[in-house]
């Protein structure tokens, strides 16, 4: 699907222009002969979490670096916090937090010294101890303040990077794979914190290889081979992956083609007749809307004198959703 049409389908279109924190139009970045990002367009409203998912090398990091003003685009237009990243002023930069994909803090400095350095970069006053302690406690590094950067595990380094990014309490956060190498419990905690930041009106642009984390986002952009395949809500993503919502139906009798499958495929709310047998007594249906479809199915059972044992909406894991999407749109969507 073309990016422009994606834009048109986005619910974000309704957002007023002054609420748009990030605007990208036809963004392209080429390194020599290699195109890293091609014709990417999207908008992100203030106070949202925008997840960028895609396989390694798909152009996620380059997009983040473009938006953060680290690299200059080959073509296209972008505005971040109302300014072109190429013309960021110091006050604009003070509103931005950037967490790179790799650990770029200093291995010879302690956790505390690294935090202090990051705080100084943003001109934070010297009465910053409480803030630093809070952040270190939040990322569970409070007891490792004196540890050198080089002695931290990979996960601890990620947490230190995240804490350093948050130190100046930015309005807009660019987080490039912040949860990579972090255990599931802390990951969940971090996402809770992102939610809290969002509730305070912060905007978060986050890339991740954990496709399941898409569920925590307000909007998800799917990147593959430098192209933005789609921008959707997590639910919309599932719908786009399977062509509708998924309902699992289990009957008390053995399913047969004539009595069950064929009539089900002809039901009007079943999308394109998509009914798949998943067991002796169970089928999976792709429907337009799960909640209404389930009621319709119960009614259909009664009318056909077929006893329904269970009916429920199936929420496929985002890993599966992502695989489906990439399968369906192998090159550029």
């Amino acid at each position: 699907m073309a990016t422009e049409s994606l834009l048109q389908t986005m619910q974000l279109q309704a957002a007023p222009p002054d609420n748009i924190v990030i605007h990208a139009q036809g963004l392209t970045k080429q390194f020599g002969d290699q195109i890293a990002v091609q014709d990417v367009s999207f908008q992100i409203p203030q106070g949202s979490i925008f997840g960028f998912i895609g396989p390694s090398g798909s152009g996620k990091t380059t997009t983040v670096r473009l938006l953060a003003g680290i690299v200059e685009p080959t073509a296209g237009e972008m505005r971040v916090l109302g300014t072109s990243p190429m013309k960021f002023t110091q006050s604009t930069r003070e509103r931005i937090g950037y967490m790179p994909q790799l650990f770029v803090l200093y291995p010879e400095l302690t956790v505390w010294e690294n935090m202090n350095f990051a705080a100084s970069l943003y001109g934070m006053g010297f009465r910053r101890g409480t803030r630093l302690n809070e952040l270190l406690d939040f990322v569970e590094l409070g007891e490792h303040k004196g540890k050198l950067g080089r002695d931290l595990s990979g996960g601890m380094q990620r947490r230190l990077s995240l804490a350093s990014t948050l130190v100046h309490d930015p309005d807009l956060l660019f987080l490039d794979e912040p949860t990579a190498g972090i255990d599931p419990v802390l990951r969940r905690k971090l996402w809770d914190h992102f939610d809290a930041l969002q509730n305070q009106g912060r905007t978060i642009f986050v890339t991740t290889q954990y496709v399941g984390e898409a569920a925590y986002c307000d909007f998800v952009g799917v990147m593959a081979e430098g192209r933005l395949l789609m921008v959707e809500t997590p639910e919309g993503l599932r719908r786009r992956a399977y062509g509708g919502e998924v309902v699992d139906l289990t009957l008390k009798e053995r399913i047969s083609f004539e009595r069950h499958l064929q009539p089900l495929r002809q039901l009007p709310f079943v999308e394109n007749g998509k009914v798949v047998r998943t067991g002796e007594n169970s089928v999976r249906l792709i429907v337009d809307e799960a909640s209404t479809a389930m009621l319709e199915l119960i009614a259909w059972g009664k009318a056909q004198n077929i006893e329904v044992e269970a009916i429920e909406e199936f929420l496929p894991p985002f890993d599966d959703v992502f695989v489906e999407i990439v399968k369906r749109e192998p090159s550029n969507g």
């Binding site: 680290i70 690299v71 950037y98 970069l121």
Partner: protein, 506 residues
């Protein structure tokens, strides 16, 4: 918080960061501070400011009289000649030279006497196996010194022979003076016959005197004419004057009313001969060494002190160490931020290129100052290197040196892509400084256009300034300090421009 406060905070970010990073590497500190001090100490202990002694074998033809004289002279020519013997076998001597058993083969001139008689200098040929141009020059210089010494010894022998001849000349002068005295006394008494006898005796004595003075009088006359005031008469001149006076007296005749005039002349002859007698005596007393080498040199410095070699080099070593330290740290600084990825943080953060550079300058200046203090204390109290000038001037030069050296380092750091390139450039600068800064070779030995390289090095200015301050007790040439600071300011500006580009978008 105001913009200026934020500026200060952002700049200070590097102050602690760089210092902490350095302090976390104690081995680095040891190698940068203690290591160079130990090298200097070892150099001071180990260096011997003495000319190299050459093991020398002489090749002299069989039956040559020179062999005997070389045997006699060689052992006492000086400490730099280790006498390895005399041989007629030149090939054998050369083989020993090739094997490194001797350093020098001195081939004596064959038929030296014949050569000299033919109005030519006889040549000692010095064969060596040196490839080092400095050592080859040293051998040449060594040869000149020692042949000069041989020549002096030959002259001394001649002079001693001349002095031996002056002993009978002195006796003859005494006899002539005695005859002149007898003649004067006879004339004063009016004893004409005795006066005539004494006059004849005086003539005979003068003949003998002329004959005995011979070559020694010529030698003394030469010394007198070359070095004397010019107003004094030579020995030959005095003899000639006396001879003329006796001739003028003619034969003393009998029956004159008065002999006062003749007596007066006899008295004059007596005085002249007395002076001649005295001069011959003095000549005989002069050491033959003084006659052949009447002059020697004795250098006296008007400088306040005459430092030892290690003390003299101490300011230069401090300069080179601090320059290298500052250049290396600064050269690695920015390229490491780029390689490590920290530069990405700077690009996104509000910190500017100017704040980054200033912060790094301040941190390294602080670190360099601490190292400079430690090194200075070590060499001042440890090695006893004096400080005759003002500590304030010294501190100003060190600060300017660090500032300018950091400029070079940051310039390097903004143009290289890797750590190893940065280290290589820093090493090239060190090597250039060793050769062109006046560290070993004086600037005056360099071709003038090449001195542009020298004056583009912080070390050149700083070595001159620190030597003046520490070892002469002066403030140094203000122009040098201005040049050093000016160079540093230009490098700061250049580094800032390049860093701005680097911190801009990729």
């Amino acid at each position: 918080m105001g913009d200026f406060s934020r500026f200060l905070i952002r700049t200070s970010a590097f102050l602690s960061k760089e210092i902490y990073e350095i302090l976390r590497q104690p081995r680095l500190i040891l190698s940068l501070v203690v290591g160079p001090f130990l090298i200097l100490l070892l150099f001071g202990i180990g260096y011997r400011n003495e000319a190299r002694a050459l093991r020398t074998i002489f090749v002299v033809e069989n039956e040559s009289r020179l062999a005997e004289q070389i045997q006699e002279f060689a052992g006492s020519l000086g400490e730099q000649l280790i006498f390895e013997g005399v041989t007629p076998d030149q090939e054998g001597a050369l083989e020993r030279l090739r094997r490194g058993e001797v350093d020098l083969v001195a081939v004596a001139p064959p038929d030296a006497y014949e050569t000299i008689r033919n109005n030519e200098q006889a040549t000692f040929t010095l064969l060596h196996n040196e490839i080092d141009p400095f050592q080859a020059d040293y051998v040449q210089y060594f040869g000149q010194i020692y042949v000069g010494e041989v020549n002096r010894r030959v002259l001394r022998t001649i002079a001693e022979e001349g002095q031996e001849n002056t002993v009978p000349a002195g006796d003859n002068a005494t006899a002539a003076r005695t005859s002149a005295t007898g003649m004067r006394e006879a004339l004063e008494r009016g004893d004409v016959q005795e006066a005539q006898r004494q006059q004849r005796q005086l003539d005979r004595d003068l003949d003998a005197l002329e004959l005995s003075v011979g070559a020694s009088a010529g030698l003394l006359a030469g010394v007198q004419e070359t070095l004397g005031s010019g107003s004094e008469e030579t020995i030959r001149g005095r003899i000639s004057t006396v001879r003329q006076a006796t001739t003028d007296m003619e034969e003393i005749e009998e029956g004159q009313e008065s002999y006062d005039e003749e007596a007066q002349r006899a008295a004059e002859i007596e005085t002249e001969l007395g002076a001649l007698e005295s001069e011959l005596g003095e000549f005989n007393q002069i050491d033959s060494q003084v006659i052949v080498s009447p002059f020697r040199s004795e250098a006296q410095s008007v400088a306040e002190i005459q430092p030892e070699l290690s003390q003299y080099f101490a300011p230069s070593v401090i300069v080179l160490l601090l320059q290298h330290l500052a250049v290396t740290f600064a050269a690695l600084s920015i390229v490491r931020e780029v390689r490590q990825g920290s530069m990405e943080l700077f690009r996104v953060s509000p910190i500017s290129a100017g704040e980054t550079l200033l912060g790094k300058y301040l941190s390294y200046l602080l670190f360099g100052a601490v190292v400079a203090i430690i090194l200075t204390l070590l060499i001042h109290f440890g090695l006893g290197v004096p400080m005759l000038g003002s500590w304030v001037n010294y501190a100003a030069v060190i600060a300017a040196l660090l500032f300018t050296s950091l400029g070079y380092g940051f310039f390097i750091s903004t143009i290289v892509d890797t750590d190893s390139q940065a280290v290589q450039y820093a090493m090239i600068l060190l090597l250039t400084s060793v050769f062109f800064s006046g560290f070993f070779l004086g600037l005056e030995t360099l071709w003038e256009p090449v001195r542009v390289v020298s004056w583009s090095l912080p070390a050149t200015y700083s070595i001159l300034l620190l030597q003046d301050i520490m070892l002469r007790g002066t403030a140094g040439t203000p122009l040098y300090l201005a040049g050093l600071v000016g160079l540093g300011a230009a490098l700061y500006l250049l580094s800032w421009i390049l860093l701005r580009r680097k911190m801009a978008h990729a």
